[in-house]
């Protein structure tokens, strides 16, 4: 493999990893702070993608407005969903959470089928991001993919800032380490959870919206991203956002280079990675902290 190809593959790995991070960060937040296993998290990713498709004709090239509206809608949906469904899950044991959220996937899939149908849809990137730049020889690297990576990094930084530098973030971190104490101090923990959940949903939906022009919009796109996200969260350490970032990049690298070098066995790669890391550190790479 020559240097140019290697660099391109690295770019591919990073871009895939960063997009994964966006989805996984929402999952790890919900996991770590509320202790809820949510198998339906992939459906929020799918929601974002379908939102991108649905909003496209109204917004045209106003890309950021479209993203903003989509995120707000997703957050509102997440807020409502937490209120009417997920808030009842906190007292339940893990098994029930697994099964209830599994059933939720079925419901979401069918609702999607009823509301939007089963066709595959494309979403075009905004025209100011069309095209690409030459990378040594025949290949072009699309600008949109660069944008996707940058956008994910920006969100990561924003997330870090919110969690570590704001009052809200302080309450989140406090609620994560000792729920009862925080409640005792007069913080409305229910509202806090609702906000965190809405945030997690919004992150996943944002990832879906950004990914839509890259992956197109199709049934089942949630399931494929879900399992990989679980692997990322477990490798990174449940509840750790920095862990999720590191893990996503690791997974991106293993997946991308695995496909090139180990074609047949590439699917197994990330699970071997997970097994190895868990043997070494049973609670993930970053045990505590964000």
């Amino acid at each position: 493999m020559d240097l140019a190809t290697f660099l391109v593959q690295c770019l591919n790995a990073v871009q895939y990893g960063l997009l994964l991070f966006l989805v996984a960060s929402g999952l790890t937040l919900i996991f770590g702070i509320m202790g809820v296993i949510n198998l339906a998290h992939g459906s929020f990713y799918m929601l974002g993608a379908y939102l991108a498709f649905a909003l496209a004709p109204w917004f045209g090239d106003w890309f950021f407005s479209r993203l903003l509206v989509g995120v707000v809608l997703a957050a509102a949906f997440g807020y409502l969903l937490e209120w009417i469904f997920f808030s009842f899950l906190y007292e339940r044991d893990h098994l029930q959470q697994v099964l209830l959220t599994y059933a939720l996937i079925l419901v979401f899939e069918e609702m999607r089928s009823i509301l939007v149908g089963n066709d595959v849809h494309g979403v075009t990137a905004p025209s100011w991001l069309a095209g690409g730049f030459r990378l040594g020889g025949l290949m072009e690297y699309p600008w949109y993919r660069v944008f996707a990576s940058v956008a994910c990094l920006v969100v990561a930084l924003a997330l870090y800032a919110v969690v570590n530098r704001t009052r809200l973030g302080m309450m989140i971190r406090a609620g994560a380490s000792n729920r009862d104490m925080v409640r005792g101090l007069g913080v409305d923990i229910r509202r806090l959870y609702r906000i965190v959940f809405a945030g997690g949903v919004a992150l996943a939906a944002l990832a879906g919206m950004i990914a839509a022009p890259l992956s197109s919009v199709y049934p089942g796109m949630g399931s494929s991203v879900l399992i990989v996200c679980f692997v990322v969260v477990v490798i990174g350490g449940i509840g750790s956002i920095t862990g999720a970032l590191v893990a996503s990049l690791l997974v991106g690298v293993v997946d991308t280079f695995g496909k090139v070098f180990f074609a047949e066995w590439s699917g197994v790669g990330i699970y071997v990675l997970m097994a190895v890391i868990l043997v070494w550190r049973p609670e993930g790479l970053m045990k505590r902290g964000f």
Binding site: G35, H94, L95, L100, E110, R173, V234, G239, S240, W265
Partner: protein
């Protein structure tokens, strides 16, 4: 951030408070024995298609019973149990040649292959706790899934066919030919009865009581000097082995194996069977398998539900939510509640 071993464990257990699984359930041995007799007599009354359905349910009942051993008895939630079902099934098909194979080879092979993988998975997974354990078991199942799905050795996403069903030939006499419908029927029924009896005896023994102790309060057991991991591992391996047996029967019944047998959907489905029936009860596992399979058939039946049948994912999903939310102790729990109400 919640450290998983600390605050969470006290508030959110892996599996909620359970009835003592070793306790004698109402009717003792009579009820399961009677049920087995009824099922044995069914071929006289129902069509070949009906017999197919019974065989399928019975196989899933074996699968559910095997999972009950670790979820119900040991309190370990595994989201990767389908891997052992699939390994048993694949071992069966891969070891069968074009002229068929002998059960004397296939049964130990399927059970053995599943047990070996269970040993490896268990040894590594049991280092983790709580939610991590759930995720790790899922990941190991995914590994097996991808080997079956992607590699040439695994046969690819279309699966592999089994053309000649296995037989058991002793001294030139064909005792069992699983290619014949009634032989398969009674073989599966026998396997189900044997599995049920085996697990019931196991749970009534010292081993079972140790598992119960681990489930209720592992820390206390360890504080008392009891090494808990070997017990958990043993339960995990036995459960995997039994799931492998179910896999063999499934491969023979369908005449085909497919990577989807190892998918997390399958693992989720068997957990659903347990919760439908009621965790912590062997009868519950069987009842859950029956209820879940029939429910799915019902929701997909155009004859009974008309146009709603094509939206079976919605009806099934909503039913599961309603069920798990309202009846966390499953059908057995419902029965106990009704009985309690009837008795005053």
């Amino acid at each position: 951030m919640a450290s998983d071993a600390g605050v969470s464990d006290a508030v959110i257990a892996d599996v909620g408070a359970l009835p003592d699984i070793g306790r004698r359930e109402a009717g003792g041995w009579l009820v399961p024995a009677a049920a087995a007799l009824v099922v044995a007599a069914l071929p006289l009354a129902i069509s070949p298609y009906g017999q197919d359905v019974v065989v399928r349910i019975a196989i899933y009942a074996i699968f559910a019973l095997s999972l009950e051993l670790i979820v119900g008895a040991a309190g370990l939630v595994s989201l990767g149990h389908a891997a052992f079902l699939g390994i048993g099934a694949y071992a069966t098909v891969l070891a069968s040649s074009d002229s068929g194979a002998s059960l004397a080879l296939l049964v130990p092979l399927a059970i053995g292959a599943a047990a070996v993988y269970a040993l490896a998975v268990g040894a590594l997974s049991l280092r983790t706790r709580g939610v991590y354990f759930i995720m790790v078991t899922l990941a190991f199942a995914q590994m097996a899934y991808f080997v079956a799905h992607d590699t040439k050795a695994g046969g690819g996403s279309d699966g592999i066919f089994l053309y000649i069903k296995p037989t058991l030939v002793v001294a030139g006499l064909t005792l069992v030919d699983l290619g014949q419908r009634l032989h398969l029927y009674y073989a599966v029924l026998a396997a189900l009865v044997a599995t049920y009896a085996f697990i019931a005896l196991l749970l009534g023994s010292r081993f079972g009581h140790a598992l119960a102790g681990i489930r209720v309060n592992e820390q206390r057991m360890r504080a008392a000097g009891f090494a808990t991991t070997p017990y958990k591992l043993a339960a995990f391996v036995i459960a995997g082995a039994l799931a492998g047996l179910a896999g063999l029967l499934l491969a023979v019944k369908d005449g085909a194996v497919n990577p989807e047998l190892l998918s997390w959907h399958e693992s989720g489905a068997v957990l659903l069977m347990l919760i439908f029936g009621g965790i912590g009860s062997l009868r519950g596992a069987v009842i859950g398998a029956v209820a879940f399979t029939l429910l799915k058939e019902l929701f997909q039946s155009e004859a009974l539900l008309g146009p709603l049948a094509s939206h079976w994912q919605l009806t099934l999903g909503l039913t599961i939510i309603a069920f798990v939310a309202a009846l966390p102790r499953g059908l057995i729990g419902l029965g106990a509640r009704l009985r309690g109400a009837a008795l005053g």
